[in-house]
Symmetry: C2
Subunit: 217 residues, 2 copies
DNA sequence: TGCGGGGTCAACCGATCGGATGACCCCGGT
DNA sequence: ACCGGGGTCATCCGATCGGTTGACCCCGCA
């Protein structure tokens, strides 16, 4: 656009990825009729999206984050946007505006993050923005990103997430220790730090917060 | 159909309800082109759906369960299907196949329960089924309903849910007792029963199961 | 009238937790 | 070479939890 203001830009080549066939069909019906958008393919799983992105060389991949079993939207985004020639831009289109989701998607290389609640016109605009590598965020998402900057969220280490996972199964310290091949003392040390980071002081509270923030699978 | 096999049936009058504008637009594009379906309106909230259902007298309401703030899909379904003349059938179209969601939707009067992961053809078929009051369930949903029949789900009493709610805040027995104006002994009694019903034996496990089954708001 | 379910309370005991402190190791970055 | 963060382990103690048993009350239902 900035390079050729006179020539009518070619339609944006779009790849749709969503595990819900109905939603996929709906998006296809909605976007397929737009003159400046060409839907070159659709994927129902992360693996399929990665494969098609390589084969169809789309300009933009419209990516849902919730993709059922197999690799998820974040991982698919990471692979699709892996540095190489002509890597497509990924525009995340999802339901949730959870902090963790947004962070992970952006870290994985997403160019934009749109909510399905957005107006269709915003979607059209975002697709064209993404095609040029410009970031497009839904207002609620943008708000959360700002908030995040102001007060960073607790970041648990991988090991702490291990402990938390066992904790959510209702295991006692001894069993957690056995499950992770460490001593009970170590478990207690980790738990203490987890309590600190999550701002709680009981195991039940930790599990509640963890589930709330979707820290666990 | 069974009454007039020769006359081409009139198109099914359909009302779409989904809080996600993009999804709504997609469904409209998808279903609006079907010759035997007439989309007579769309709603972005439960309240709007109830109002439009009364005004537009559709044959079928396509209802998402997750509707953001305000009355949810279940409550909207309940009101729309309230016994009266010409009450439309409600076909639930949602993402989740949680036991609790299914149960609540059916109890509220839903005629069918379809997952968005279903193939679009199934959606068309389900809409026509619903128009005649015939039940249509996605296979995973049907499976869960069957499973439910075989092993009924733990049903916590209101009081037990109170205790569980406080538990999820990470409170100790003493604080739970104070919060609910009962003795610590009573709290322990309730907790014991909750453990039994949820099949766990620790507070952390109880919270995990509760969050998993969406037993708490 | 009796029965059962739900809610409340008590007392007891062993097991576990929460918190604090100090220590060691390994690794990556300055 | 030094330092800091992450992971590991140990020990101590008071507080809390989990499990059990038994009891009382109220209410709806047979």
């Amino acid at each position: 656009m900035s390079t050729s203001p006179t020539a009518p830009s070619a339609p944006v080549r779009l790849l749709i990825c969503d595990d819900h066939a109905v939603v996929r069909a709906g998006l296809l019906a909605l976007l397929g009729s737009a003159p400046d958008i060409e839907v070159v393919g659709e994927a129902g799983s992360g693996a399929e999206a990665v494969a098609l992105a390589g084969r169809l060389v789309p300009d933009v991949v419209l990516m849902d984050l919730q993709l059922g079993p197999g690799i998820d939207g974040v991982e698919a985004t990471r692979r699709i946007t892996a540095p190489r020639d002509g890597a497509p831009y990924v525009l995340v289109l999802t339901t949730y505006d959870t902090d963790a989701d947004i962070t992970r998607a952006i870290e994985a290389g997403a160019t934009g993050y749109l909510l399905k609640a957005e107006r269709p016109e915003e979607l059209f605009a975002a697709i064209h923005s993404a095609a040029q590598g410009r970031t497009a965020l839904s207002p609620p998402v943008a708000g959360r990103v700002m908030a995040r900057m102001r007060s960073p969220r607790p970041v648990l280490t991988a090991r702490e997430l291990d402990i938390l996972g066992q904790l959510a199964r209702g295991l006692g310290n001894r069993d957690i220790a056995r499950a992770l091949f460490i001593s009970e003392a170590t478990v207690k040390t980790h738990l203490g730090r987890i309590y600190d980071k999550l701002g709680v002081d009981t195991r039940a509270g930790a599990v509640a917060v963890a589930k709330e923030q979707r820290l666990l699978p």
